[in-house]
Symmetry: C2
Subunit: 252 residues, 2 copies
Amino acid sequence: LLTENQRGRIEVVLVSPRNPLNIGAAARAMANFGFARLAVVAPYAPPWREARSAVGAPELLEAAAETATLAEAVSGCALVVGTGTLTYRKPEQPVVPLPDLAPFVLRELARGSRVAVVFGPENHGLSRQDLSYCHMLVEIPTDPHQPSMNLGQAVAVCLYELASRVCSAETSAAGPGGGGQPATSGSLDRLAGVVEETMQAASYSSRSRQTRHEEARHDLRLLLRRVALTERDIRRILGLFRRILWRLKRGD
Amino acid sequence: LLTENQRGRIEVVLVSPRNPLNIGAAARAMANFGFARLAVVAPYAPPWREARSAVGAPELLEAAAETATLAEAVSGCALVVGTGTLTYRKPEQPVVPLPDLAPFVLRELARGSRVAVVFGPENHGLSRQDLSYCHMLVEIPTDPHQPSMNLGQAVAVCLYELASRVCSAETSAAGPGGGGQPATSGSLDRLAGVVEETMQAASYSSRSRQTRHEEARHDLRLLLRRVALTERDIRRILGLFRRILWRLKRGD
């Protein structure tokens, strides 16, 4: 089973939940399986207030972090796992069935990194932009006739899997690793920002319209998450880009 | 993964559920994981009505069996698995952690038998009498500080485990088996009835008071479930006891 220290490095993130009962159920499942770190992104104020003040609400609801964006909520995490039904979308990153998730999570935990498991709003799940912050997606193997799970139940199933299955993965998850501390989501965002600034400074843009600009940002986010950079990689690349940027700006 | 035929032989049994939302959540989890057979024992009428008439309620709620006793609900099953928190009770039968349940279930399914997974009422779980109809208890590995799960979430976690984990158990579960069709819960109850009648006819009772009589029945139920009888065993033993009974009564 996971140690307390490992559980303390797994973050549950709820994006804009709408139903206070679901928020309460998610928190209860966390308490059931020994997880304590909850972050809520851009919550609707009334249900969030109601869930926190419910009788018998777990303490972790009171202690939950509240952020305006998913980027902030996961900025300290080296592995961000998105959840949801993939029936209606074509995912742009690797998809892992929930029963196979444990080794990936354990590898990051063994390196001392933080991991986030992200759940979308009840009605439509994680948006395409939310998903672009995820390194991988996990799919709960549900029936094609009724694929969409209730939020509180989905959280319970995912945390049960993590709490009880990671043990058997422990040995096989030592893995290659090696190359230093994996980059956190926040470091990747910082790098993306500098790359983008450099592209602008260099007037590099094959496509000029604003909508295309958003698309390019989206693709860059996904690319940076796919290549498994370490913090040292990030420092090096940042150094290079900052240098380029300085030269470009001096040249103006 | 489980075949449709195998899923069709797994029965979910809710004993006296009180909250219509929980009933709905249990049914939804069943639909999510491809299970269709629900039985409800001695339901409280208003929440049961409300759950069945809820907007978007899965079809399986409409088709659910309704019985007065747990004995009736599981009478066709060769393996009855009780669920619940065991923190406050000392179980009288084997306890299996949920992650280890699959091989036991699969062995029965491979023999063509039916299996029931039984969930108790929200407030206090399965009673001691309910538990005496169970061949084994399954324990969801929850945190000792918050062991008690919400009913809908407990159903989701158990069915996820069964739906997704049985595959890997498939090979190891061929097991010994051999000795013919395992006895169903109903056959065991029939045998218990005849044994009891025989004991009365023989005026066999080391303990005379009515309360003790209930205790003896309880112990007999547990014993019959512990010894893994087949239907053929039952027929033989029944034959013997009926013969004894006939002799005893003729002798009166």
